[in-house]
């Protein structure tokens, strides 16, 4: 089968149809490769200054896409993420503060949109849990290590005798 195909392609008397087919195939591959390159969220925004640009990038990095839940606005291709990026941009150009923009999003989409949740009674566990666990672990290690330290390091005279008798036999 493969041999036949090779023959077909490399036949000396290649006719026009075959050449056209090859050309089409090459073109198709080229198109496929080129679409792969452009995939990914690309929108162009003009920023008045470098600071606004950095603020924009920081905001869309910190805000989460409500639809595609494990991506931030910067990563996501979904229409809602595009809209929200536009909204963030519009608000920045409008001269709003970062906190205002974040509050705007939280008021509409809930605290969920924050990749860095606010510290409040609901999130204490989230923020301080790891520290607490680390301290408990450290405390346990401390307890065990201290206990080991208490065991006598020198042999009693009785044990010394035993040791001598064992070594004599050798």
């Amino acid at each position: 089968m493969g041999h036949k195909l090779m023959k077909l392609i490399f036949l000396p008397k290649t006719n026009l149809v075959q050449i056209l087919a090859m050309a089409l195939l090459t073109l198709l591959i080229a198109i496929m490769l080129s679409t792969k390159v452009v995939a990914g969220p690309i929108d162009t925004y003009d920023f008045p200054d470098e600071i606004t640009k950095v603020r924009f990038q920081h905001l869309i990095y910190e805000l989460r896409c409500p639809k595609c839940q494990n991506q931030n606005l910067a990563d996501s291709n979904s229409p809602i993420a595009q809209d929200l990026r536009q909204e963030v941009y519009d608000m920045l150009i409008d001269g709003r503060a970062d906190m205002e923009i974040i509050d705007f999003m939280v008021n509409r989409y809930g605290e969920f949109v924050l990749y860095r949740p606010k510290v409040n009674s609901l999130t204490y566990f989230l923020w301080y849990g790891p520290v607490a666990f680390f301290m408990i672990g450290g405390f346990m290690v401390f307890l065990f290590v201290r206990k080991k330290d208490k065991t006598p390091t020198e042999l009693t005279s009785e044990q010394q005798q035993q040791l001598k008798s064992i070594l004599k036999d050798k």
């Binding site: 409500p66 639809k67 839940q69 229409p79 809602i80 509409r108 809930g110 666990f133 408990i136």
Partner: protein, 182 residues
Amino acid sequence: MKVLIRLIPLLLFLLLGVLLFRGLSLNPQDMPSALVGKPFPVFSLNALNNAEQKLTTASFKPGIKLVNVWATWCPSCKYEHPFLVKISKDQRFALYGLNYKDERQPALRWLIDFEDPYQFSIFDQQGKLGLNLGVFGAPETFVVDHHNIIRKRFAGVLERNVWQREFLPLINTIEDEIANGT
């Protein structure tokens, strides 16, 4: 006492295990809306079937309102549509449409082809009202009470189970509130 201290890691492990195991069965799409308990956002948009007519919150009838976010580009909306037609016969509330980021002509065609269950549809081509409502897709359905306060937001296809489990009890509650004058 010492035994107790030694048991602490095991207890913490079990606690964490229970917590994480519970997390496995939660639906991540089921998010509490930030807008529940807040007034329906102020808007001024054209009606879908009449580009001249301005709609605002004042266009809603008094009483209980259901606002359904829909679009012709949304396959689940089509799936949901017959159920909307069915519940729109219920006189206890008024059903409104929010045509979200759609084109006017196909949307009008849709209402002719599949029957129009809505009192009116708000034409929100830019998705501005959608943004203020925290909409991130269609279909979504909001329950708005007689004080124009959003009482519930449901993201996903409305069907009989959800309707009976989550919507009807809420509608009954609001009806009681209206009857009691609160």
